[in-house]
C-alpha cells in the first residue's frame, strides 16, 4: 500500500535511523514502565498474603499450646461413693470435682474462706472432673491410688499465663489472688504450657479450653466425601454428554447458558434451594453431612461441568479421528481415548471445586450446619458442622480465648486448602500428556 509519492516526499534514508532511534528510546521506556506495573501488582498481592499469614499465625499459634496445672489427686472410691467402676449410674452420681478440689487445697494450703476457695477451684477447667473420671475409667488400677495429674487450666488462667510468658499478661479476667497463686505455682514448677491435645481431638465446647477442631474437621470430611461422590460422576457424565453426544441445537445452547449462569449464582441461594427442596420437600434432617453434601453438590456441579468440558475440548481432534478411522465406536472413542486424556483436567477441576466447597459457609448456614455440636460426627447422618462454620462460630464467641482458636482454625482450613490446591497442581503436572 505504499504510494510512490509519499516515498519521494521523504528526505534521505539516513534520517530514518534517527527517527527509529528516537522512537526506540520511547518504546524501551514504555516497556520498562510496563514491567514495573506488573512487579508492583505482584508485590502488592504478595504483601497482602504475607500480612494475612503473619496476622493469622501470630494470633493463632497460641491455640496449639494450653496451660496445665499439676494437681495431686487421690482416687478415693469410698469418698466418691463408687463401689463398682463398671456401674455407670454410680459413676454419673459421683462428685468428681471433689478430686481436684481437694488436690488444689493441698497444693495451696493457705487458701481459706468460701469465696477464696471458689476462686481457687475456678483455676482449672470446668471439665477437669470429667477428665479425671475418664482417666480412672480408662485405667482402673488407679483406684484408691495417688498421682499427680496435669489438669488443663481455665481459659482465663490460660490466656493470662500465656500472656505472662510472652511478657504481656492480660489481667482483666483474673483476680489478684489468682495472680499470686499462679506466681506461687510457677515458682514451684506446678504450672506450664503443654501441647494442646484437646484442640486436635475434641468437638466444639462452650469452654474454650475444651473446644477442639476435630468435630469440624470430621464434619468437613464427611460433607466433602458426599459432595465429591455426587458431583464428580454427575459433572463428568454431563460434560461428556454435552461435549460428545448432544446435538448442537437451541435446547443444548440453552442448557449451556444456564450451566454458566449457575456457576455465577451466589452460594447462599443454593442454601435456600437446599432448604426448600431437601429439607422441606424430601424431609432430609437438618445439620447432617448428607444434606451439606447435597447442597454443596448443587454448588460445585457447574464448576466441575465447565472444567470437565474444557478438559474434553482440549483433547486434540486428531486423536478422535484416529480412533474413529480405526473403526472405534463413539463410546469407545470416549472411553479409550478422550476420557483418559481429559482425566487430569477433570480431576484438577474437581479438586478446585472441592476446595471451593470446603471453604463455603453461607449455604450451610441456611441448612442448619451452624448448630452448636459437641460430639464428633461418626457417620454421614450425625449432626455436624464444618471448618468454615466453626470459624464463624468461634469468631462470634465473646470469650477472649476463642480469638486464638479462631485464628488457629483458619490456619487448619488454609492448610487443607493449600494441600488440595497443591494436589491439583501435582496431578496436572504428573498426568499431563504431550501429543
Amino acid at each position: 500500500m505504499t504510494e510512490p509519492t509519499s516515498q519521494a516526499a521523504r528526505p534521505t534514508p539516513t534520517d530514518h535511523s534517527a527517527t527509529i532511534k528516537a522512537s526506540l528510546k520511547r518504546r524501551y521506556r514504555a516497556e520498562t514502565r510496563f514491567r514495573w506495573y506488573g512487579r508492583i501488582a505482584i508485590a502488592f498481592g504478595l504483601a497482602a498474603v504475607l500480612v494475612l499469614f503473619v496476622d493469622i499465625i501470630s494470633k493463632g499459634h497460641g491455640a496449639f499450646k494450653t496451660t496445665h496445672i499439676a494437681v495431686p489427686v487421690e482416687y478415693d472410691l469410698a469418698q466418691l461413693g463408687v463401689r463398682d467402676l463398671n456401674d455407670n449410674q454410680q459413676l454419673a452420681l459421683a462428685d468428681w470435682d471433689a478430686l481436684f478440689k481437694s488436690g488444689l487445697r493441698e497444693l495451696l494450703p493457705d487458701v481459706s474462706g468460701r469465696s477464696a476457695r471458689r476462686e481457687l477451684y475456678r483455676m482449672v477447667s470446668n471439665g477437669a472432673g470429667y477428665d479425671l473420671k475418664d482417666r480412672l475409667q480408662a485405667n482402673p488400677r488407679l483406684a484408691n491410688q495417688r498421682e499427680q495429674v496435669w489438669l488443663s487450666a481455665d481459659d482465663d488462667i490460660d490466656t493470662y499465663f500465656k500472656g505472662l510468658l510472652d511478657g504481656d499478661p492480660y489481667t482483666a479476667r483474673v483476680t489478684e489472688q489468682q495472680i499470686e497463686w499462679i506466681d506461687e505455682l510457677r515458682s514451684a514448677g506446678q504450672i506450664r504450657t503443654q501441647w494442646n491435645r484437646n484442640f486436635w481431638t475434641r468437638g466444639d465446647s462452650r469452654e474454650p479450653e475444651q473446644a477442639g477442631i476435630w468435630g469440624a474437621v470430621m464434619g468437613s470430611l464427611f460433607t466433602l466425601a458426599i459432595t465429591f461422590a455426587l458431583s464428580f460422576p454427575i459433572g463428568v457424565s454431563a460434560a461428556i454428554y454435552l461435549e460428545e453426544f448432544a446435538p448442537r441445537n437451541r435446547f443444548t445452547d440453552f442448557i449451556e447458558i444456564n450451566i454458566n449462569n449457575l456457576a455465577a449464582v451466589p452460594s447462599i441461594i443454593f442454601g435456600l434451594l437446599g432448604l426448600a427442596i431437601f429439607i422441606n420437600f424430601f424431609g432430609v434432617p437438618r445439620s447432617i453431612p448428607i444434606l451439606g453434601g447435597l447442597v454443596l453438590t448443587l454448588m460445585t456441579l457447574p464448576t466441575i461441568i465447565i472444567t470437565s468440558r474444557a478438559a474434553i475440548k482440549a483433547v486434540p481432534p486428531s486423536i478422535r479421528e484416529a480412533a474413529l478411522g480405526m473403526g472405534a465406536s463413539k463410546h469407545q472413542v470416549v472411553l479409550h481415548h478422550v476420557l483418559p486424556l481429559a482425566m487430569p483436567g477433570m480431576l484438577t477441576g474437581a479438586i478446585i471445586g472441592m476446595a471451593q466447597a470446603l471453604g463455603e459457609t453461607a449455604p450451610l448456614l441456611m441448612i442448619g450446619m451452624v448448630a452448636f455440636i459437641v460430639d464428633i460426627p461418626q457417620a454421614f447422618t450425625d449432626p455436624a458442622t464444618v471448618l468454615p462454620v466453626q470459624i464463624f462460630l468461634w469468631a462470634d464467641s465473646p470469650e477472649r480465648a476463642f480469638v486464638e482458636k479462631t485464628s488457629a482454625a483458619i490456619m487448619v482450613l488454609l492448610g487443607f486448602l493449600i494441600i488440595m490446591n497443591t494436589t491439583a497442581v501435582w496431578i496436572r503436572k504428573r498426568l499431563e500428556r504431550r501429543w
Binding site: 486428531s318 479421528e321 484416529a322 478411522g325 480405526m326 473403526g327 472405534a328 469407545q332 479409550h336 501429543w435
Partner: protein, 271 residues
C-alpha cells in the same frame, strides 16, 4: 487461481474413469457442507490392488472425496453425501451398513501423524483389540509384529514396543499409523497427504512402503506432490474446484494430459 476463468469448467470428466476389476466404485457423487457444495458429480472406480493418486489445487475437495470412502464425513455436522459409493458392489451409504465394520475394511492414514498417546504396542494392537481379531495374547503379539514389519518399522522399534508412540520421530510416527491401519487387515487404505508433515528421507521411506503395500492392499492417496503421485501411483485423478477433471494412467497424466486444466496444473501454471 485467476486462470481459465474464461473457460467453463466441464461437467464431464475425461479419461479412463472406470476399471474392469473395481474394488470401489463411485457414481455421480455430490458432497455438501450445509448449503455449500464441495464435490460435483464425481464418478470414479478404484481397481483391485491399484494405487490411485488424487491431485489438485488445495481446497478442490480431494480430502472431502477421500473421506466419503470410509464415511469419515459422518463425523462432520452438516456434511451430506449424495450419489452411489459402493465397495465390492455393496452400497456404503446403505442404512443397514455398519460404519464400524466399514472402517475396519477401509483404513485411513491422516495428514498429521496421530498416534495414540499410548505405547507403540498398544497403538498397533488397538484395532485388533476393539474388533476382537486376536484370540490370545500370542495372536496379538503376532499381529503387532507382522504389522510393524509390513510398515518397515519393526527393526527400529522392536526393543521399545512399550514406550510411547508419541516419542518416535515424525516419519516413524506416520509408519506407526500405517502399521496401526494395516493391523486390522483392511481391504482398502486411504491416505490423506501422508507425507506433507515429513522430511524428504521419511517421505522416501513411506513411498517405498506404499509400493510394497500395493501388493496386498488397494490404496487411495491424496497428495499435493506431483512427483509423489508420479512415483507411487498407477492412476492419477485430477480434481479442480470440486470436479473430477481427468483420470488416466499416471504416466499419461504427467506426459500427455488430456485436459488443459490438468496440463496447467502439472506444468505449474497454478496450484
Amino acid at each position: 487461481m485467476a486462470i481459465n476463468n474464461d473457460r467453463p469448467i466441464p461437467t464431464q470428466s475425461v479419461g479412463a474413469q472406470f476399471h474392469d476389476n473395481a474394488r470401489m466404485s463411485m457414481r455421480d457423487v455430490n458432497i455438501f457442507y450445509g448449503d455449500k457444495q464441495a464435490i460435483f458429480d464425481v464418478s470414479l472406480d478404484i481397481g483391485q490392488n491399484e494405487v490411485m493418486a488424487m491431485i489438485g489445487p488445495s481446497g478442490c475437495g480431494k480430502s472431502t472425496f477421500l473421506r466419503s470412502l470410509n464415511r469419515m464425513n459422518d463425523t462432520i455436522e452438516g456434511c451430506r453425501v449424495v450419489g452411489d459409493i459402493a465397495m465390492d458392489g455393496q452400497d456404503l451409504y446403505d442404512s443397514k451398513l455398519d460404519v464400524v465394520e466399514l472402517r475396519a475394511r477401509v483404513g485411513m492414514v491422516f495428514q498429521k501423524p496421530n498416534p495414540f498417546p499410548k505405547s507403540i504396542y498398544d497403538n498397533v494392537a488397538y484395532g485388533p483389540k476393539i474388533h476382537g481379531l486376536a484370540e490370545s495374547r500370542v495372536d496379538l503379539d503376532e499381529i503387532v509384529e507382522s504389522s510393524l514389519r509390513k510398515a518397515s518399522l519393526w527393526n527400529e522399534v522392536k526393543d521399545r514396543l512399550h514406550q510411547p508412540g508419541t516419542g518416535l520421530s515424525g516419519g516413524q510416527q506416520q509408519r506407526l499409523c500405517i502399521a496401526r491401519a494395516i493391523a486390522v487387515n483392511p481391504e482398502v487404505i486411504l491416505m490423506d497427504e501422508p507425507c506433507s508433515a515429513l522430511d524428504p528421507i521419511a517421505t522416501a521411506k513411506i513411498e517405498e512402503l506404499i509400493e510394497e503395500l500395493s501388493e496386498n492392499f488397494t490404496i487411495a492417496i491424496v497428495t499435493h506432490s506431483m512427483q509423489q503421485a508420479a512415483r507411487v501411483s498407477h492412476r492419477t485423478a485430477y480434481f479442480h474446484l470440486g470436479r473430477l477433471i481427468e483420470v488416466n494412467p499416471t504416466e499419461q497424466v504427467f506426459t500427455m494430459p488430456e485436459h488443459e486444466l490438468t496440463e496447467g496444473y502439472i506444468t505449474g501454471r497454478f496450484g
